[in-house]
């Protein structure tokens, strides 16, 4: 990066550190923070959409749709999310390749042969001659789908709870005015439910932030990957030899996440304080006496 970095072995102290922290691999490490933020920015709206669909489906009048919605809404209750994070990408990948195998290959050989999953070269995803960045993007794409499905299920949970919290009398009043089901949904249920859903959704945002390091499990070169890669002890064969520094890299990541959640937390705290003002509880009492709760 800097002109004096040409021979790192001659450098000392701060000059060495400045060169070390701006080496090519470190720039990739900094870029991977962008990957995390990108994942957040893409996943949050998609998950909200999935959640909305799931919540609406679980209230549907068509039985199979209702069952599907109910299953989707409750799937995160009993099963750890990490199982889904491991399962969804590989299952999707095999599903895509299977479909392509049926369409593009003209062999009759079964896809599953013992412990192997065999598709012809034309059906591989991504193609074996594809550029490396295609593989990276495909990996991130599968990760985004996995995150969206799992967090969609969480959001469906929150939203269906919020829909049930909308006072029944309001919906009945709307019906009494002669609105159709669709009109009731659009004009009363959905605008009303956000008030009830807001606390749950802001929690979900925090949850999503804290789930992003799981990208590492999906094989994406994210911040955890680079922290392990860069922090591991480097022998003198490398241009910047150093002992095992992984702890410092992980502390850096910790600070990043604490900063992210701190900002979100400030906003939540303000809302909580607002809600307990004037209540005849210990929290309200503490506020009244002027001591911070």
């Amino acid at each position: 990066m800097f002109a004096y970095c040409t021979d790192p072995s001659l450098l000392q102290g701060l000059a060495w550190l400045s060169c070390y922290l701006t080496s090519g691999t470190h720039l990739l490490f900094y870029a991977s923070f962008g990957t995390v933020l990108l994942l957040l920015a893409i996943t949050a709206p998609i998950a909200l959409l999935f959640g909305f669909g799931g919540a609406m489906a679980s209230r549907s009048r068509i039985a199979p749709l209702r069952w599907f919605g109910g299953l989707y809404t409750s799937m995160v209750r009993g099963v750890p999310d990490i199982i889904f994070f491991l399962f969804v990408p590989i299952a999707l990948d095999q599903a895509f390749e299977w479909v392509r195998h049926q369409a593009l290959c003209d062999t009759d050989a079964p896809v599953r042969q013992g412990n192997d999953f065999v598709v012809c070269a034309a059906a591989k995803l991504p193609l074996s001659n594809a550029a490396p960045w295609v593989h990276d993007v495909y990996g991130i794409f599968l990760a985004v789908i996995a995150f969206s499905i799992v967090f969609g299920a969480f959001a469906a949970n929150v939203l269906s709870g919020a829909m049930q919290a909308v006072p029944r009398a309001q919906l009945e009043t709307a019906e009494a005015y002669g609105m159709s089901t669709r009109q009731v949904n659009r004009r009363v249920l959905i605008p009303q439910m956000w008030t009830y859903a807001l606390p749950g959704l802001s929690n979900l945002w925090m949850i999503l932030i804290k789930a992003t390091p799981l990208l590492f499990l999906l094989g994406v070169e994210d911040i955890v990957y680079w922290a392990r890669e860069l922090g591991g002890s480097k022998t003198s064969a490398f241009s910047y030899p150093h002992p095992d520094w992984r702890l410092y890299y992980f502390l850096g990541i910790l600070v990043f996440y604490l900063g992210m959640t701190w900002i979100s937390g400030r906003i939540l705290d303000r809302v909580t304080a607002r809600l307990s003002r004037g209540q005849a509880t210990m929290g309200g009492e503490a506020l009244r006496k002027g001591t911070p709760a």
Partner: protein, 274 residues
């Protein structure tokens, strides 16, 4: 090899008893179900110990957080903030990396050598992280409940001349638990589910002794077939979660036994995840 034989061989494989070598070829359903089930022992071990130790620490932390004394309140706030504000996954890595840095030979304290190598093993190191993590999350829940204890109950306790520990033990604490229990049930479910992270973070599975998900991903990797091993693991977790909800539901009923009709079913709300 019959299924009974497989269960005899691999039923306790995750804690190092029975057959040492994992199956290598033609993995059948029985082997997968047995080994994944044997891994569940570790999930239960982590969940039960972390929840019981974490509960005690969480109560103390919640009281400290509600204290008017800044010397108690600030450290409790900071502890809760750090553990709730960062991903559990990262906490595991940091714990492992710092425990590895401890001297191999042990630390000399007053001429006694304290062994430290066992701390880098998952059963101890990961357990410590899980305890501290659940303590922070539960403390936040308990603090919220403590703030919601009706003012009248505390005033009534004052009127009866109850003070200090006695007032806390007999009036404030039971009400706090009663109010916190639905959220605490969710926290327990999430902690139980979070135990699957242990062997996917820094902590290595020593001699292939891992948890349910460790074996599930072992099989999925070997057979290239995620559609068998992961559903088996999921089924085990659903069963264990239902058992956990049942136990916590019983406790909830007991906590609310003086309020007939107040025991609502504990609703699942995903408030907390690492």
């Amino acid at each position: 090899m019959s299924c009974v034989q497989t269960i005899m061989d691999y039923g306790l494989r995750s804690i190092g008893l029975g057959e040492r070598l994992l199956p290598r070829a033609d993995y059948n359903l029985c082997q997968q179900a047995t080994l994944i089930g044997s891994g569940l022992i570790w999930n239960l071990y982590f969940a039960v110990l972390a929840l019981s130790v974490g509960f005690v620490i969480a109560t103390a932390l919640a009281v400290a957080k509600a204290s008017a004394n800044p010397w108690l309140r600030k450290p409790a706030d900071a502890f809760i903030f750090v553990f709730r504000g960062s991903p559990l996954f990262i906490q595991f890595f940091i714990a492992y990396e710092s425990l590895v840095l401890l001297p191999r030979a042990g630390i000399d304290i007053f001429g006694m050598t304290v062994q430290t190598s066992w701390l880098t093993r998952a059963w101890a190191g990961a357990l410590v992280v899980l305890i501290l993590n659940t303590a922070a999350y539960s403390a936040q829940i308990f603090h919220g409940a403590l703030m919601s204890v009706p003012k009248g109950e505390v005033e009534a306790a004052d009127a009866y001349g109850l003070t200090g520990w006695k007032r806390f033990r007999r009036v404030v604490w039971p009400t706090m638990l009663r109010l916190a229990w639905p959220s605490y049930t969710n926290e327990a479910i999430f902690l139980f589910h979070a135990t699957t992270l242990v062997y996917f973070s820094g902590f290595p599975a020593f001699q292939q002794k891992g948890d349910a998900l460790y074996y599930a991903s072992y099989f999925a990797d070997r057979t290239f077939n995620p559609f068998v091993a992961y559903p088996i693991a999921a089924a085990y977790f659903i069963a264990a979660t239902l058992a956990l909800i049942w136990v916590f539901g019983r406790v909830n009923r007991r906590l609310n036994r003086h309020l007939p009709g107040a025991t609502s079913r504990v609703r699942y709300r995903p408030q907390l995840m690492r």
